[in-house]
Amino acid sequence: MIKTEHLTYTYGIGTPFEITAIEDINIHIEKGDYVGVIGHTGSGKSTLISHFNAILKPTSGRILIDGHDLWSEEKKTRIQTRFDVGLVFQYPEHQLFEETVYKDIAFGPKNMGLSGEEIDKRVKKALDFVGLSRSILEKSPFDLSGGQKRRVAIAGVMALEPKVLILDEPAAGLDPRGRDEILSRIRDYHRETRSTVLLVSHSMEDISRNTNSILVMNHGRCAMHASVSEVFDRTEELIQMGLDVPHITKVFIALQEKGYPVSRNVYTIEQGKAELMRLLGKDGDQHA
């Protein structure tokens, strides 16, 4: 679906602030995958994803969406790419501008030149995906709560019905309720549309709970790109890159190092509990 070849991007060429944000990235993201993207601040995550919908032009290297080289073909390809690859930036509620929620969500589909009927269908569908009720469609987006605004903004991108949906820290700044709500909506969206989804996050918990594979960025390079369990298997490396590993993972790694036959790849409560129950069940009646 998305393929990069030696993708490199340098900011501010020729100024004192010149900095290479990403270097020699070669990745291949499969159609229908749900990919978590992690990395410390300044590791190049945001720069990388801004290439996927042609907001940034690579300094060198190529980027292919569905086999099309974005920058060797004519401009029309890139405009189409904006609709094929939906990008939700950080704090997307800051982009809301219309008088009503309906109009704001319809902004993208309208730019695509769709018919009124199709736009209407898409607005309602997107609203359902983010779990908001139809009654807010005629409200001003600025009268909504923070979490609701965020969801309207995400719906505005979902309404493009992109083949790939990329979200840059969609839960940043929300409380646990808002975070869980949004992440579970995105999970449902992925399952129902079978589209490719990329989730950028600092939270290993959020990533491990949601995605199928993980892309780890470190100092502008792609450090790992593998399944969730393969990546979490390399905990020490992740910690060295300045990333936070879930507490529960740390507990199980320590247990294993103390000689208990447990898996190192535990990153959710459910997995941890199952692992412990297995151990207890095998061994003993002492607690049963």
Binding site: G242, G259, L279, Q286
Partner: protein, 285 residues
């Protein structure tokens, strides 16, 4: 110990907008904060925790009930300057609280307002920057700093007033893990080493467990108040308030649902390891 902030039976509601009557943001809240303690306030968005915090230094005035800071009534206009000098406040978005275009000039802002004479001002700016570990960046422009660094500058700007208490309203919500660690380390050190009272409003459980005392708010009221260990006993209640619980406590909670007898309020990796080892006993291979 002396009480630095005393809130009694405080109620407050925001003025209604466009005919949408607002439900009370705070309802009959009473809370005493001891000098030198590290208090964390938890609660989902809109539960009234920021509204409460804004009463601690007179940004909002009590509708009914009272707020006293160091025995001064926070609703009296003539006390405000003295209260604000003693109760500093740091907000969520570091970009929107830095006033000057150079770090040290920003730190000096409060001192200029207070009319501190020049030689003392320089000394206090140096001291504040040192306390947050930003001395190296004193001549930098704030907008070129990382989020964590900006937030530390904001803390220094408050520290320069030599306050007895600092109230931080979700200071880490917009930061990455690295920035969060920096800010938390700074806050902890100020509390332990400088004896400054800290009130930390947060969503992050790993931050709350570092406090001496945790207050949980919901719908404008205080629901729980105790040590982290006491508060995190109530996993079910916290879940019903849509709040997180430290993962280790969450694991214990899950085990207890299977009738395994483990303590609930297990708050650190080390503690959790100890409990699990005891539980597993001879399960080593």
């Amino acid at each position: 110990m002396a009480k630095i902030i005393e809130v009694s039976q405080l109620s407050f509601s925001y003025p209604e907008e466009d005919g949408n009557p607002s439900s009370p943001a705070l309802h009959d809240v009473s809370l005493d904060i001891e000098e030198g303690e590290f208090l964390a306030i938890l609660g989902h968005n809109g539960c009234g925790k920021s509204t409460l915090a804004k009463h601690f230094n007179g940004l909002l005035k009590a509708e009914s009930g009272s707020v006293k800071v160091m025995n001064m009534d926070a609703s009296e206009e003539q006390n405000l300057l003295e209260i604000r000098r003693n109760v500093g406040m740091v907000f969520q978005n570091p970009d929107n609280q830095l006033i000057a275009t150079v770090v040290d000039e920003d730190v000096a802002f409060a001192l200029e307002n207070l009319g501190v004479p020049y030689p003392e001002m320089v000394q206090r700016v140096d001291e504040a920057l040192e306390l947050v570990g930003m001395t190296k960046y004193r001549h930098h422009a704030p907008h070129r700093l990382s989020g964590g660094q900006k937030q530390r500058v904001a803390i220094a700007g408050v520290l320069a007033m030599r306050p007895r208490c600092i109230v931080l309203d979700e200071p880490t919500a917009m930061l990455d893990p690295q920035g969060r660690r920096e800010v938390m380390k700074t806050i902890r050190r100020l509390n332990r080493e400088q004896g400054i009272t800290v009130v930390l409003i947060t969503h992050y459980m790993d931050e709350a467990v570092q406090a001496d005392r945790v207050v949980v708010m919901g719908e404008g009221e205080i629901i729980l108040d105790g040590t982290p260990r006491e508060v995190f006993q109530n996993v079910g209640l916290l879940h019903s308030l849509s709040l997180d619980v430290p993962q280790t406590a969450e694991l214990m909670f899950a085990l207890r649902q299977e009738d395994i007898k483990v303590p609930i309020a297990v708050l650190s990796v080390e503690e959790c390891l100890e409990v699990l080892e005891k539980m597993l006993g001879g399960a080593k291979k």
